[in-house]
Every structure is written in structure tokens, then in C-alpha cells.
């Protein structure tokens, strides 16, 4: 998922304490996928309650987001709205590959191949309406603001950073940069020891930031040309050109005036290229949102997570208290009277 231009970009590792008081517009779908694919048991089974409902995302939201809040980071979740019509094909393909992975996972589990099973299980993670509703309900109970974008979440998050309402877009993908995000932060919700897929080794993941202006300067391209590079290697809305990786794409883009002349020279086609480019340059976004962090509702959280989804009450209560010590300020702000 997302555009594969990471190799071209310069990333700076950042220590969590340096992010205190920063507002991060978190790409909700991206983060929920992370939670659903990472928070799993050894054989790949996601966390489940006694009725067999997946709870990996709820665990991720409660514990990992509480960790961020405790570090004085202010998260706001940005959910996807209606995808542009030229994304249909990508979405269809993703669905197929998930179903495929699901089948292989079941086979691997039957054969007792734990490693394989885990890999396929991760690929089978899917987000349905129930998961979205549960996530929003939990965020709301925790006092964490969320909003619904008119179109792509990353575009909305990028807009909020441009406006100065947020400091970073939080996402693992680089797409927010294509939508013009001045600052992106990765690994924020998945910091710590992480197993390398397919290997029995662990690496330490630290958050890293990507500064758009700095990167454009060092690559010697404009925002518009960065999008052209992405179009060459493939985005969520188009397949990349044959045999063109990020490095070759950069060379091509620098040597040509625009994407059209690259297509002419290579004799290849990108469907909807004008529409896609325009979508990255001018995505549909909204200014109709309020960023307000509220006091967590401990009773509601416990009722939802412990009574409905069989979480340990002791652990949930502890997380609530940690959250409350940061968000439980009794002081109101004037914004609510405007």
C-alpha cells in the first residue's frame, strides 16, 4: 500500500520527548491496519474476545495511544471518506489479495506452519464497518478527537499540517507528502521492538520525521515533480511504469518537463493521469473540524472493553488513569463558547 518512494527520502530519527506538545494528525486507516496486522498471537490469530470478534485495533488504540498522550503528544485521528473513483481497481485488488492471504493462512495453520501462518495472517487484515465504529467509539470515550475526511484521510491530515492545526501527519506511507504535507512522522504508533517479517530477529523501531521542503531541496525537485516520480513508480491510483524504480523515476522526472513527455518517451500509459495528478495537487479537504482533547470516560471505556470485549479490567483501568492524568485537566478553554 502507498507509494514506494521511501528510498529517495531523507528521514530523521526523533526522540519521543522532543515531540511533546506536538499535534499529530494520524492517518486512521493506516494506523488501524498496523494494529490489526501487528497485534497478533504467534500463529497469526488476531486478539479476539470470547465471541470471536477481533480486538487487536482496540488494544492498539487504548495502550499505544495512551503511551503517546502520556508523552504529551496530542493525537487526532483522521478517517478516510469516499475514495476517488479511480481508486476502485486498487481497492478491488487489495480485497482479492486479502482473501488470498486468508485462504493461505488457514492452510498454513492446518499444516502447523507457524511462521507462514503469521505472514499470511498479517496480509489478511481487513477493516470493516464494525472495526471503524468500535475504533471511533473508543477514541471518543478516551477523549481523543477524530474527524471524517471528505476524501482521503492523508490528504485531510496534510491539509491540517499546512494550516498549522497539526505539526505532523502520522502515517507509515509517504502519500501524505504527495498531498503536500510539510512534515510526516512514521513509526509513531509502532515504536519499540519489532520482529522482522520472515526472520527470527528483532529491530528497534524509532519514530522518524520527513521534512518535505528539505527533501524537495536535496532531490532538486518541486512538489509537482515529486508527484510525477510517484506516478512513475506507482501510487494507490495507478500501476507504476514497467521496469522503473524510484531512482530511475527521479532521473526521468528531472530530465523531462512533465509526466506526459515521460510517458511519450517510454511509450507507456497511465490511466487517468491528469485526474490523479490533480487529485494529489488539490484534494478535497474540509476546514470543518474541532481539535479538542477531553477527559476520558473511564466507566464507558471499562464497560466497552472489559464487559463487551473481555479485556482485563485491571490493565484497562490503569491505562485510563494514565490517560486521565494528562487529559483530565479541570480547566476549560474558551473555544467551546465561540
Amino acid at each position: 500500500m502507498g507509494v514506494d518512494i521511501g528510498d529517495l527520502l531523507h528521514k530523521k530519527e526523533v526522540e519521543i520527548p522532543n515531540l511533546s506538545n506536538k499535534t499529530v494528525a494520524i492517518d486512521a486507516y493506516n494506523t488501524l491496519y498496523q494494529f490489526l496486522s501487528i497485534i497478533r498471537q504467534r500463529d497469526g490469530t488476531p486478539l479476539q474476545d470470547s465471541k470471536g470478534r477481533t480486538t487487536s485495533h482496540l488494544s492498539g488504540i487504548l495502550y499505544r495511544i495512551t503511551n503517546l498522550v502520556e508523552e504529551d503528544i496530542k493525537p487526532v485521528f483522521v478517517f478516510d471518506g469516499k475514495p476517488p473513483d479511480f481508486k476502485t481497481e486498487t481497492l478491488e485488488k487489495r480485497k482479492q489479495s486479502r482473501e488470498n492471504a486468508n485462504q493461505k493462512w488457514n492452510e498454513a495453520k492446518k499444516k502447523g506452519l507457524t511462521e507462514e501462518a503469521y505472514k499470511y495472517a498479517q496480509g489478511s487484515a481487513r477493516i470493516d464497518d464494525q472495526i471503524l465504529d468500535d475504533a471511533k467509539y473508543l477514541l471518543d470515550s478516551m477523549g481523543i478527537p477524530y474527524l471524517q475526511s471528505p476524501s482521503e484521510g492523508e490528504a485531510q491530515a496534510a491539509h491540517m499540517v499546512q494550516k498549522g492545526d497539526a505539526d505532523y501527519v502520522g502515517s507509515q506511507d509517504y502519500d501524505a507528502l504527495l498531498f503536500g504535507a510539510p512534515h510526516v512522522i512514521r513509526n509513531l504508533t509502532i515504536t519499540g521492538k519489532r520482529k522482522i517479517p520472515g526472520k527470527n530477529t528483532y529491530i528497534e523501531l524509532k519514530p522518524e520525521t520527513i521534512d518535505m521542503e528539505e527533501n524537495l531541496e536535496s532531490l532538486g525537485v518541486t512538489h509537482s515533480k515529486l508527484i510525477d516520480i510517484a506516478l512513475c513508480v506507482g501510487t494507490d491510483y495507478n500501476k507504476g511504469l514497467e521496469k522503473i524504480g524510484p531512482k530511475r523515476a527521479l532521473k526521468l522526472v528531472k530530465a523531462h518537463d512533465d509526466i506526459k513527455s515521460i510517458l511519450n518517451e517510454t511509450g507507456q500509459k497511465i490511466e487517468n493521469v491528469d485526474k490523479i495528478k490533480d487529485f494529489f495537487m488539490n484534494p478535497e479537504v474540509t476546514d470543518d473540524y474541532q481539535l479538542k482533547w477531553n477527559r476520558p470516560d473511564k466507566d464507558k471505556i471499562i464497560q466497552f472493553l472489559c464487559e463487551e470485549h473481555d479485556f482485563s479490567e485491571e490493565r484497562v483501568a490503569k491505562a485510563c488513569d494514565r490517560l486521565d492524568s494528562k487529559l483530565g485537566s479541570h480547566q476549560k478553554t474558551l473555544d467551546q463558547w465561540f
Partner: protein, 245 residues
Amino acid sequence: MFRATIDAYLLRDSVEILSVLVDEIRLRTSSDGISVKAVDPANVAMVTFNLDSSAFDDFEADESEIGLDLTKISDILGVADKNDKVSMELNENSQNMSINIGSFSYTLSLLDPSTIRSEPKIPQLELPAEIILNGTDLRRAVKAAEKISDHMLLGVNDDVFYMEAEGDTDKVRLDLARDQLIDLKPDDVRSLFSLDYLSDIVKPASKSNEVVLEIGQDFPIKINFEIANGTGKVGYLLAPRIESE
């Protein structure tokens, strides 16, 4: 253009009124006088400040916006005696202001107004209770409260305006009946406020003989008073705290 001469103490009071909430201001000038609207970084309190041209010995200005660092002005005013006059003149080309106090002459560099937080919108609030009292009474009650708590309740009950603070172990309460107040429009209301803010706000207000408080039920409080013999108007708005169960 902006050129004005004013009593040093009045300028100092004005700076104090604003620096309770912010370090940098966008000063609006017009032929009528100067004005500032500012909100503190945490969005808890805001101030509106107007000083009429008649408060100045000399005043000439057109519509403009000037970015000022209040800390610097307050430092400059440190050399002024109570009866000194301060004259200011904007040098529009070089983006600075000449300030003369007695034989001192300063050149103060200005801030780009666009780098200062923009002026807040002013919420329209209907606050049912209105109390007019002496600024000194208000200050005394706040000072007493500070000793035992970090927050204070302000309310009206049966023609009595009360201020009450409760700490972990101790409690203090001041009741002011109608005859101890300058005026009272009663309503059964109360709201809780942080003393961090309240004591800073009440300090400049205490110099005024008439402070107007408007209170609602768990609503922001308006604290209005006049300076410079009525040629200046100050209005604070402070958001309440939530009363814990």
C-alpha cells in the same frame, strides 16, 4: 503612521494588563486611539483593551497594525519615573519605533504582526448575574484564597455575592451583601476559576474603583473595568474550571 505621547504610568499599566496573558501583541491603531485583542496560549483567557486618543497628551495615527514585544517595552519603561512622559513614533520604512522617555531615546524593533497569534473572535455570552464592586475588595478575596487553594468559586445567592476557596483541609469565604457592593443584578449562579489566572487578572483590576463582574452557571466570567479616567476600557474573559465530583 503612529505618533503619541502618554504618561509613563499609564503605558506601564496598559502593558501590565496585556502581559497577564500574552508576551506579544498586535496593536491596532486608528485616529480614535489604540486597541488590542489577545488570547493566552492555552485558550483559557482573553483580553480586549481600548485606549481612546484622549488618554494621550498627543495622538496622531491612522489605521494600522503594529507587532510589539511587551517584555521589551516593559524593560524600557523601567527607566521611567512615575511622572515621566513617553513619546513614541513609528518609523514605517525601517520597521521600528522610536521611544523617548526624558533624555533616553530608544529604537525598538517591531515584530511582523503576521507572526503573532491572530486576534480572537469575541464570543457572545449572556451572563445572568452582574456584580459591581471595588477592585480592592476583589483583590483581597483572591489573595486570601491563594493561600489555601489553586481555584476559587464565584457565585451569587439571594442578593449575596460570594467568593469561596476550598483547599485540602481549609476553607475561606467572603460574603458581600448588596449594601457592600456598588451594584448587584442577582441570579442563582456559580462558576469555578483557576487562581493562576484570576490573581493575575485581578491585580490590574484592583486599581479600579468599579470592577464589573458578569457570572453565569459554569460559564466564563467577564471582568470589565476602566482605566485612565474612563478613557480606557479593559475586558477580560476567563474560562471556568470544571467542579470535580
